[in-house]
């Protein structure tokens, strides 16, 4: 056996150039496949983190009919009993109650259909965290004019400031990103922005009777902090829901769709408004370990044991996102498949050349008494050596990049960054940490090598010794 490995190892170095070309093709295939897949999976993790972990939660407890008929008639009672049952399950990071329903909002000037979301202000900080999205700066045309009068901005920043007119910001860091400011310009401009563009707004207190309006909605309704809005809608079991609410703050929602219609109020306030007493539309749950989501889901189901209540994973209550990820993932897999397919033919070519070049030698081996099975084994070991070298070097080269890209995600700038932010995501592209995908690339290469060996090795099995000796 030892001699077989020695022979195989020495054989692959008989034609160094061919070996290096084959190894290089496997190296690049593994390297690019790993990095590409890592970027893809990293971005999915990031999307899930942003949209699911930071807004809806990974698991929701709802009325069993709510997903098909999302009205207030399909709500669930929110009491200590439900919470204590949920809290018996491990892996639960936070369970946040929500009331979500639609109403008509009016300021007297404008009116619009809105999504009223009742939240527990303290608990919600651990989920969608509206407090950190409160608008603190607004670039109205008048404010932009004043800023321009006070500073002498470079041409690029001047253009960017004008293009950001009418925009709101929850932080100076986002202003810096949008205006492409360096440290020096930040030092000049930030005091002026603080003086001229600061926007007063507060987060909701526990028993607040006011509301937070999403940024785009507030502009549409022409409502500002301190103004009041009228909300009208249908409450629980067809009751009329109507009331006047003072605006406490403007909150910037990254998803444009939600930013056009979201109204936050306290859970208590929303239950009173919709005559829901102590009912909620969903209990949104975040997890400590996402990998155990399905197990946790089953355990919650088991703990609750109710025919009226259902437990849904994010993949069930947000199928669109799941389909988006799956669609994109399939695209990536197809691309990697094509890459591997090309490499597969390269490997087949190498095996064929190896056999053709050594036909006489292989014939001699069989003539003197080596079984074709053993001969086939030597050739397979040779190809596995090539695959192994390519795989190890490919994985080895990609590993430091994965560590670097995971710890320090690639930060996007310019239009790409804005596009990401507008879609509701941080403008970063992290690489996924080592997981099954990483080791699978290695396994796929080794499987491919074995597949590539099949046809040529069949030739060996069918080889006629006498004609091989004449080669």
């Amino acid at each position: 056996m030892r001699k077989t490995f020695i022979m195989a190892w020495r054989n692959i170095w008989r034609n160094k150039r061919r070996t290096l070309i084959t190894v290089a093709s496997i190296f690049f295939a593994v390297f690019f496949a790993v990095i590409m897949r890592s970027f893809q999976l990293g971005s999915y993790d990031h999307m899930i983190h942003q949209a699911i972990e930071s807004f809806s939660g990974y698991i929701q407890i709802q009325n069993k009919d709510f997903l098909d008929d999302p009205t207030l008639d399909n709500t669930i009672p929110y009491d200590q009993n439900l919470l204590s049952k949920v809290n018996t399950v491990d892996n639960i990071k936070i369970a946040v109650p929500r009331v979500e329903s639609f109403a008509l909002a009016s300021t007297g000037i404008q009116s619009k259909g809105v999504l009223v979301t009742g939240i527990d202000p303290e608990k919600e900080k651990l989920l969608s965290d509206p407090e950190n999205r409160i608008v603190k700066y607004r670039f109205t045309p008048e404010i932009v004019a004043k800023i321009l009068a006070k500073t002498n901005l470079p041409k690029k920043q001047l253009g960017l400031l004008k293009s950001n007119q009418n925009k709101s910001f929850s932080s100076l860091s986002r202003i810096s990103l949008d205006l492409a400011l360096d440290k020096k310009l930040e030092n000049t401009l930030f005091p002026i922005i603080n003086e001229l563009a600061s926007f007063n707004g507060n987060y909701l207190t526990s028993h607040d009777d006011g509301v937070l309006l999403s940024d785009r909605l507030s502009k549409y309704l022409k409502a500002n902090v301190g103004d009041t809005i009228v909300l009208m809608g249908a409450g629980y079991h067809g009751t009329t829901a109507a009331n006047v609410f003072p605006v406490r703050g403007i909150v910037q929602i990254l998803s444009p769709e939600l930013d056009n219609k979201l109204v936050y109020m306290t859970l208590e306030n929303s239950q009173e408004f919709f005559s829901l007493e102590n009912r909620i539309t969903s209990l949104n749950i975040n997890l400590d370990d996402i990998d155990d989501m399905l197990e946790t889901h089953s355990k919650i189901k088991e703990a609750i044991q109710s025919d009226l209540v259902t437990v849904k994973t994010w993949e069930e209550f947000n199928p669109t996102m799941k389909q988006q990820i799956e669609g994109d993932s399939v695209g990536g897999v197809i691309f990697i498949g094509i890459l591997y397919f090309i490499v597969l033919f390269g490997i087949i070519g190498t095996v064929l050349m190896m056999i053709a070049e050594r036909k006489r030698e292989l014939g001699v081996m069989v003539a003197i008494g080596m079984s074709k099975m053993k001969l086939t084994f030597v050739l397979i070991i040779e190809m596995l050596f090539l695959g192994f070298i390519g795989m190890i070097t490919g994985l080895g080269a990609s590993a430091p990049l994965i560590i670097l890209g995971n710890r320090n995600p690639l930060k996007m700038t310019g239009e790409m960054a804005k596009m990401y932010e507008d879609m509701g995501f941080d403008p970063v592209m992290p690489l996924a940490w080592f997981d099954q995908y990483f080791f699978w690339q290695g396994a796929i290469i080794m499987i491919m090598v074995l597949i590539a060996c099949y046809l040529p090795l069949r030739r060996v099995r069918k080889m006629k010794v006498i004609s091989a000796l004449r080669a």
Binding site: K3, R14, V364, V366, I368, G369, M370, K372, I466
Partner: protein, 228 residues
Amino acid sequence: MKVIDIKNLTKIYNESEVKVKAVDGISLSFEQGEFAAIVGPSGSGKTTLLNLIGGLDKPTQGEISVDGTDIGGLNSSQLIDFRLRNIGFVFQAYNLIPVLTAKENVEFIMELQGKKRIERDERSIELLSAVGLGERVNARPSKLSGGQQQRVAVARALASKPKFILADEPTANLDSKSTETLLNIMEQLNKEENITFIFSTHDQRVVKKARRVITVEDGRVVSDEKRN
């Protein structure tokens, strides 16, 4: 004692539409310890005859019995195993395994036979010393001359302790000195160890040394001369 018994051996090649009778009804037998040369002009069928005796090719008709075993009745893998345990081959172009050293080449067959490492080590060195290459055991074939490579091939053929050795034009690529050395080694092994050697050749130096000369023409034995 008969080592090889050939009866009415025929081999017909069907090259396109023309049938070529390479061996035409040959009947022969070889005793243990013979030093025989099969001679004849190119295309006379001597290499085909050797290939048939060695089980490398299948006869169209006839019977080859080696030590009582009809090798025509063996399937492909049985034949490979039969060759491994009974026949030693020396080829015209040496045909050593280029990635193995002289010693490893000799050991190779014993490893296929499943011999233990100590036995392989001892016998390979002993055989290489016997063919005068005791100092070159770790040289790869590319570092050896043609004559030296052919001597390694002889050592390899002997390694499996075969019943006989088939050598197809073993001196065709060698100079006079190397031919002389090789023939002396083989003659010595034949005499001292009683190993049967069967050559196909048209080298007169080999013919002179042979104690039996079988002349083949058009696939038939035209003379079978035994010498003392």
